[in-house]
């Protein structure tokens, strides 16, 4: 592409440079310089991305931009992988989100982490995360994406375990990394299958190969798609592998905002959108994605109802919203999924940062039961939080309203199976608005339940990003699904949207908004009008309440079914039986034999003269008998003396 320079490799390299500078020299640099380096990196990348976006809009370049002649990474035998970056609408959108929201969160965390000991280490890891996320998004082939994939897993491990002195944080970090590795296992198998059947890992070549053979459906492609989805489920915390996200809240709040809300967890959705060519050809895989997406949405929403920790509520809400995105992808409405991804990035980052500002304001307390009545003391945080809450609840004309409806509408068109998903999605929307308004009321309304806290508003360095994000989450959806899917069409393909069976589209919107209103009403009654009502309700429905509070005991089940048996087997069966008994046993046996023969022979040397004499005689006798036998056998019985002369 000898057109205008796109500086594609520079986008990830700037944050990497930031990581190196802060990582190596951060501890010796003054805090201001560390912040400067840390902020310059995402700003630089944002500038380049904006520059490339401008080039595209001004028509100077056409997408997709596939970088030719990139340096080769691995080339052995038939396998050839290079550092080829690809820029198209999809990756440009993702880049805008990552660098934009990332930059805002960097500014926010400058204020939030101001008095932390490992300040430079935090920003080094944050820049490292940005580097890996950008590599993931720009990657032209699955292996390079895998580099970004595991890299963000590493960055999240380091950031979750930032306060490594706390065992819970260190445990959460390790848990996140290991569960991600389980997902990566699926991704690896998917890549091997791709290699086995396509001989290449580059997405464009795979897409062209699939294009050439319209006959391919199901079979191999389903297998590959499902393996890739396992990887996505691991990274984006879907049903079987979501357990790490709630624990990841141990990390600092801006980390939760950036990694566990806006960018990393959406990597799964991006990967499916990027490899949509494979998913299109396997309806089985698509239905699996849709079902798991819807199930996760509902499942996580139910758990979010009863959480008391403000960040855990948002964590379950993230899992639920991710379920929506996968539902969108599952019904082949990739553009709707990505649209929701974008709007979710805005309002979820806003909610997390606002929650961070609340926690920062009341001295690190995260328990909703201790908050209350903060409206007057944290006005800016309150108003920005309100924007976020209304956005996620699906209030009309705010961002989620457009994106969530698009997904539900697309789901509705997929026949009866789609209608079931649509119903589940609708009910989850109700739950979503309920737990968001519950949080809203508990935190900001009523009287302050913990008098000892004396909340103070956060500095403007934290409130600035909140305001910008509030504006984005309000205006984010105005682009509208039609223009957005038309913008993404070349990257993710267009999918015929059949008629909705006579029901006009605005009717769906009305239903969705009414769900949101109902949720708000119930929350209002329970938490604003009669504050003692939830306690009574919990009492009466004690069993379901206990199930939800203990998060369906999923962690305990995993421990009991997988972790404990694995440790038991390896400690007792493998270590004791195989290692000591069998392998150690064989060695001991050989040594034993040697000792035994020694002991037996030792008996001979007893020092008893007469036993020596006996053995002497026995030996002589044996010799004589032997000679006699040989002689007799040799020349028959008649011994001729002549023979002996």
């Amino acid at each position: 592409m000898n057109g205008p320079l796109l500086f594609l490799p520079l986008i990830p390299l700037l944050p990497f440079a930031g990581f190196l500078l802060n990582g190596l020299f951060g501890s010796r640099l003054p805090k201001a310089l560390v912040t400067l380096i840390a902020l310059l990196a995402p700003l630089g990348s944002l500038a380049i991305v904006a520059h490339d976006a401008y080039l595209f809009w001004s028509g100077a370049i056409t997408f997709p931009v596939i970088e030719q002649g990139a340096p080769t990474w691995i080339s052995v035998g038939t396998l050839h992988v290079d550092f080829g970056f690809v820029l198209d609408q999809l990756s440009l959108t993702m880049l805008l989100i990552i660098t934009g929201v990332g930059f805002l969160i960097h500014i926010y965390s400058a204020g939030y982490m101001a008095h932390e000991k490992g300040y430079w280490r935090y920003f080094a890891y944050l820049n490292l995360f940005l580097f890996f996320m950008i590599v993931l998004v720009l990657a032209g082939n699955a292996l390079l994406m895998f580099v970004g994939w595991e890299g963000v897993g590493l960055a999240s491990y380091l950031l979750i375990g930032f306060w490594f002195q706390k065992t819970s944080a260190a445990d959460a970090g390790k848990k996140a990394f290991v569960v991600n590795r389980i997902g990566d296992f699926g991704f690896l198998i998917g890549m091997f299958l791709l290699l086995a059947n396509f001989g290449t890992l580059t997405f464009s070549e795979i897409a062209t190969k699939i294009g050439e053979n319209p006959g391919w459906t199901g079979g191999v492609l389903t297998c590959i798609a499902i393996c890739l989805f396992v990887g996505a489920a691991g990274k984006s915390a879907q049903i079987p592998l979501y357990v790490w996200l709630p624990d990841a809240m141990e990390g600092p709040t801006p980390v939760s905002a950036l990694i566990h809300a806006a960018t990393m967890v959406t990597a799964g959705v991006y990967m499916i959108a990027r490899s949509h060519a494979i998913f299109d050809r396997s309806p089985v895989a698509l239905s699996v994605v849709a079902i798991i997406g819807a199930a996760t949405a509902l499942f996580a929403a139910t758990m979010g109802l009863v959480q008391t920790d403000i960040k855990r509520v948002l964590a379950y809400s993230t899992i639920s919203q991710l379920g929506y995105m996968f539902l969108g992808c599952g019904v082949m409405a990739y553009s709707a999924g990505v649209f929701h991804l974008m709007t979710h990035a805005f309002f979820k980052a806003l909610l997390f940062l606002a929650a961070g500002s609340v926690i920062h304001g009341i001295g690190g307390e995260q328990d909703l039961r201790k908050m209350g009545g903060l409206r007057k003391k944290l006005p800016v945080t309150f108003w920005t939080m309100t924007a976020g809450v209304f956005a996620i609840a699906g209030a009309p004309f705010l961002s989620a309203f457009y994106s969530k409806d698009a997904i539900l509408y697309a789901a509705f068109q997929q026949g009866t199976f789609g209608r079931v998903l649509w119903a589940v999605g609708l009910f989850t929307a109700l739950l979503t608005s309920f737990y968001m308004f519950r949080l809203w009321y508990l935190a900001f309304f009523g009287k302050q339940r913990a008098p000892e806290l004396h909340p103070h508003e956060s500095p403007w360095s934290m409130l600035g990003p909140l305001v910008i994000l509030a504006l984005l989450s309000i205006g984010g959806g105005w682009i509208g699904i039609e223009k957005f899917s038309e913008w993404l069409a070349p990257a993710v393909g267009t999918h015929a949207v059949e008629a909705a069976g006579g029901i006009p589209e605005w009717a769906f919107s009305v239903i969705a908004v009414s769900m949101g209103l109902i949720g708000w009403l119930v929350a209002h009654v329970l938490y604003f009008a009669k504050p003692d009502q939830p306690a009574k309700l919990a009492g009466s429905f004690s069993v379901p309440y206990k199930v939800l509070v203990n998060k369906y005991w999923v962690d305990e089940i995993y421990n009991a079914l997988i972790v404990k048996p694995l440790l038991m087997i390896s400690r007792f069966l493998l270590e004791w039986v195989v290692e000591f008994a069998i392998i150690g046993g064989v060695v001991w046996l050989l040594a034993g034999i040697a000792l035994l023969t020694g002991a037996i022979l030792q008996k001979w040397q007893s020092g008893n003269l007469r036993s020596y004499a006996a053995w002497l005689a026995a030996g002589a006798a044996a010799l004589l008998l032997f000679a006699g036998a040989v002689l007799l056998a040799a020349n028959g019985v008649d011994i001729k003396w002549a023979g002996w002369k």
Partner: protein, 519 residues
């Protein structure tokens, strides 16, 4: 050797590499044992030998068949043992790796070895000569000599410098490796009796020519395999590794396992007995995959970090052996590259463990906790090394691992490959659990009361280049892969035919064959 223009030094460079450590050992042996004298001499010798080994890649002609820098001198007339040394793509980088790990070893044991340092460094240099010898020897008898020689100094040093029960571990190590080398000698002599030569290339052509009885050849190949399998070690024969690792001094622990066994397998088993390897390969594939999972599982439950690393190493080297016996070109190249990675990673890992052990005098993981606060730089390097071990992309572990697993998946069997890939999860689990229990979490009693100085100059100089090397080998494997691949390509075994591939039922899709044609 081809008439290629060779500057003067090429003809005796290998002999020089062999002799420099030996000369160093003699010099140390002669001089009195005063303070750091023998340590400094050892350091100078190993640096000199490392410099010499660097000459090899500079003048190596990639893609040229046969051996380079070859020297053949008749040594003993009857039996016809001659001093025949040479290297090709396979042994080139292993020689350089041995050269690299020598200074790492000397520097790592700089202030750990206080008593009788003269004996330590002299034997260490003899060990270096033995290892160089194993990699360059092309005459089977010469190779066998160096192979045996490499055991002796190791066993003595383990016995002398063992932490708790050195002598027991040393005898176990020595017997474990020595007993199978007896049938190896018998096999070599049988070959000599049959073909009248010890020369590797002549033997190779004689065996390939089918002049030898197949039945006996099978047992000869088995004897070769058995001796090398113990050294790697492979699953059932790894009894000695855990004891050797917990007793061996750091400088030796990093070279004790893996390289020698794996190189010998590639050179003297896979290349020498192509037919026999084909019928033994399925058994070995099964053993290695079991070994991978077995090593990982056991590493999960160890209480002593030396033993944990030992079982982790069993797992990692079984993966490398899986690459060798997958009998695919990519697999073998990946295996050789993984051996190099493993050498670098083990080197860094043992230096770090040596640092922790020398500061805290304990290897019980339970006693540790929150050490990162006291030793921040050690923690950083430890995390980098363990991530490389776990196979994080961008670091060197991943490249080899991916090559081996993908080639096994495509070339051998998808069932075994999937089982082997599970090790990716287990590997992450036990490594990070170790890092967390030792470095993170609240400070344990041991961590608080023992004053611990962070990395000293001799550890710092060693770890920084190794970490950089890990990054370079992860990002730019192209510097190493072409030479390795060219030598692997010349090996008599071609890519296994696609018919042998067993695909998952849903995969048997018609277009599959068209893809074969397309590739």
């Amino acid at each position: 050797m081809g008439g290629v223009e060779m500057n003067a030094i090429d003809s005796y460079i290998l002999t020089l590499i062999l002799l420099v450590p030996l000369a160093g050992a003699l010099l140390i042996a002669l001089l009195p044992d005063r303070g750091k004298l023998s340590a400094w001499i050892a350091l100078l010798t190993v640096l000199a030998s490392f410099g010499l080994t660097l000459h090899l890649p500079a003048h190596f002609l990639a893609g040229q068949p046969g051996f380079q820098f070859e020297v053949t001198q008749p040594w003993i007339s009857n039996p016809a043992i001659n001093y025949h040394v040479g290297i090709d793509g396979l042994s080139l980088w292993l020689v350089v790796l041995t050269g690299l790990l020598a200074p790492v070893g000397v520097l790592a044991s700089w202030n750990v070895i206080q008593t009788r340092s003269k004996v330590f460094y002299a034997l260490f240099l003899v060990q270096q000569t033995a290892m160089f010898g194993v990699f360059v020897a092309l005459d089977l008898m010469l190779y066998y000599g160096f192979w045996e020689l490499s055991l002796v100094p190791m066993a003595i040093l383990i016995a002398m410098y063992g932490r708790k029960e050195g002598p027991k571990a040393a005898t176990k190590f020595f017997l474990f490796t020595f007993i199978p080398s007896a049938p190896l000698l018998v096999a070599i002599l049988w070959l000599y009796a049959k073909t009248g030569t010890f020369n590797f290339t002549e033997l190779q052509s004689a065996i390939a020519g089918g002049a030898l009885p197949a039945g006996a050849l099978f047992w000869v190949a088995l004897a070769f395999l058995f001796a090398f399998a113990v050294k790697v070690p492979i699953f059932p024969l790894h009894g000695w590794l855990a004891d050797a690792f917990s007793e061996a001094p750091v400088a030796l622990a990093m070279v004790i396992a893996g390289k020698l066994g794996l190189y010998s397998m590639l050179r003297f088993h896979v290349a020498l007995f192509p037919e026999q390897v084909k019928c033994v390969a399925p058994v070995l594939i099964a053993l290695t995959v079991i070994g991978i999972l077995y090593g990982a599982c056991l590493a999960l439950v160890q209480r002593d970090f030396w033993r944990l690393i030992a079982f982790g190493t069993v797992g990692h080297f079984s993966l490398t052996t899986l690459g060798i016996y997958g009998l695919t070109l990519t697999g073998r190249t990946g295996a050789v590259y993984q051996t190099l990675n493993q050498g670098v990673m083990e080197g860094a890992l043992f230096v770090l463990l040596g640092v922790i052990y020398s500061r805290y005098e304990s290897s019980q993981i339970a006693a540790f906790g929150g050490v990162a606060a006291k030793l921040p730089r050690t923690a950083v390097f430890f995390v980098i090394t363990s991530l490389a071990m776990v196979g994080l992309p961008m670091l060197n572990g991943f490249v080899g691992e991916f090559l081996i697993l993908s080639s096994t998946f495509i070339g051998v069997s998808q069932g075994w490959a999937t089982a082997a890939t599970v090790s990716v999860i287990l590997g992450a689990a036990y490594t990070l659990w170790l890092v967390q229990r030792v470095f993170y979490g609240p400070e344990s009693a041991l961590a608080t009361e023992k004053p611990a100085a962070d990395l000293r100059w001799n550890e710092w100089i060693v770890l920084a280049p190794l970490a950089l090397l890990m990054l370079m080998m992860g990002l730019a494997p192209g510097l190493w892969l072409p030479t390795i691949e060219s030598s692997m390509k010349l090996a008599p075994i071609q890519q296994t035919s696609s018919s042998q591939r067993i695909l998952l039922p849903p995969l048997a899709v018609t277009f599959h064959d068209s893809k074969e044609a397309a590739r």
